[in-house]
Every structure is written in C-alpha cells, then in structure tokens.
Symmetry: C2
Subunit: 140 residues, 2 copies
C-alpha cells in the first residue's frame, strides 16, 4: 500500500476512535511530543497532555455529537502527510453541521505507523446534503 493509502487509513482510525469513544485508540493515534489540537471555536491546545485531556473529556461526554468523515484527501510530503476532509457532525435535534478539518500525521523515525501531530476543525458553510450526494457518486 502507498503512503497515501496508509495515512488515509490512519485518518479513518482517528474518526473511528472519535465515533466509538475509544480513548485507548485515541491515545495511541496521537504522536508523542509537540502536538497541537484546535477544536471548533477553541484556542489551540499545545502538547500531548493538554490535547489528550481534551479528548478524554469529549469522549466521556454522553452528549458528544455523532461524527463521520467525508471526502478525505491526503498530500504526502516525505514522512509527513496532511489530510483534509469534511466532518459531518450530527447532534440530537440540531440536524447535521459540516466542519472542514486539517489532520497532520508523521511517521516517526524507525516506525511504519502514521501518528497524528495536529488536528484543526472549524465550521464550513456547506450544505450537508450536497456532500452526501457527492459521496454517493461513483469514484473515477
């Protein structure tokens, strides 16, 4: 498998950990050291400790929204990859909101596994139905 394919798998693993509230998988996915996370509307959180504390809090919240990822595209630059995708956020009684997300991964030296170093998600003014329609088109 190409780097592009394996980093898209890592990106799916991130959203699966989010959707299934899997704290251990989320902890494994994030790299050690200088990582940053910008949740929608939040100021940037710096460092693994602060970032994982925020995820533990989000994943433990019974009112956390359902999330799924659409239209992921990966650009690989050596041992770093930037994945861009749309997040579909479904909150009870509030319909579906679309966010644009940037997820940056690295392959640490001596390893073959992509780990997340940066996540940034924020609102995108896109009709969720348009994205679902595009996803249902056959791939070229």
């Amino acid at each position: 498998m190409s780097d592009r394919e394996t980093v898209l798998f890592a990106n799916i693993a991130f959203y699966t950990a989010f959707a299934t509230r899997d704290v251990k998988a989320m902890e494994h996915l994030w790299a050690d050291g200088d990582v940053v996370c910008i949740h929608p509307g939040w100021p940037p959180l710096q460092g693994r400790e602060a970032v994982l504390a925020s995820w533990r809090s989000i994943l433990a919240n019974p009112n956390a929204p359902n999330i799924s990822c659409r239209g992921a595209i990966a650009n690989v630059h050596g041992t770093t990859a930037v994945v861009t995708c749309m997040e579909m956020i479904a909150s009870q009684g509030e319909g579906t909101q679309v966010l644009a997300a940037t997820n940056v991964f690295i392959k640490p030296p001596g390893t073959k596994e992509w780990r997340m170093i940066h996540h940034h998600a924020g609102p995108a003014h896109i009709d969720p139905e348009k994205i679902e329609e595009e996803e249902s088109q056959p791939m070229n």
Copy 2:
C-alpha cells in the same frame, strides 16, 4: 538560526504579504504542487492554481479586512513544520475578530527556504483584548 526561527519568519512573511496585499510575495510563499487552503467558512481549495486564485481575489478586494498574527508557535518535524497562531481580523465598523490558524510549511529538497503547503483559518471564541494583553507581557 534554527529551523524553528526560520519557519516563524516564513509565517511572518505570509501575514505581511496578506496585510500589504502583495500578490507576488504570496505566490512565492506557496509551494508548488499539492497545496490546500481552507479560508474561514470555505470548503477546502485543492492545488496551487485554485489556492492562488483565491488569494489574488482576496488581495485585490478593497474591503478585505486588516490582519495581523499573534502568538505563533512552530513545531518542526524534519523538513516539515506546523505553525499555530491567532489571526486578528479588523473589519471597518465590526471591531476585531480572532481566528485560530494552522500553517504548514515544507523545505523542498535541495532548498533552504520554507514554503507553505497548507493554510486553515477559522473562528476562535477568544476575547481579542486578552490576546493583546498576553502579547504585551515580557517573554520568558
């Protein structure tokens, strides 16, 4: 100078090009190839052509807001660096809005210059006065 310092200079060059409406500097700053730009609320723009077309449009707009960068932090991972910062957006009659931004740079093989491969900016719920106060504190 360290990589951390030089990439922070590249980040300043990006905001200077934005603030001074310098199209040529903006074109030089963006890398060739697989680049992505997510303007606030926009869907992701893929590829140098689409990204630079958006910047030409923004920089030519006489109503484009004034922008400045605060609190930039760079995390360097080999020849890739992720800069996180706050953008202060001052629109006439609308006061100052704060955005959180992710700027990813690479040092292409055989070069010593950081070029931008990814920009993502979105609203952050932060009081602009708080940021200005923090900036006026002496650095540790």
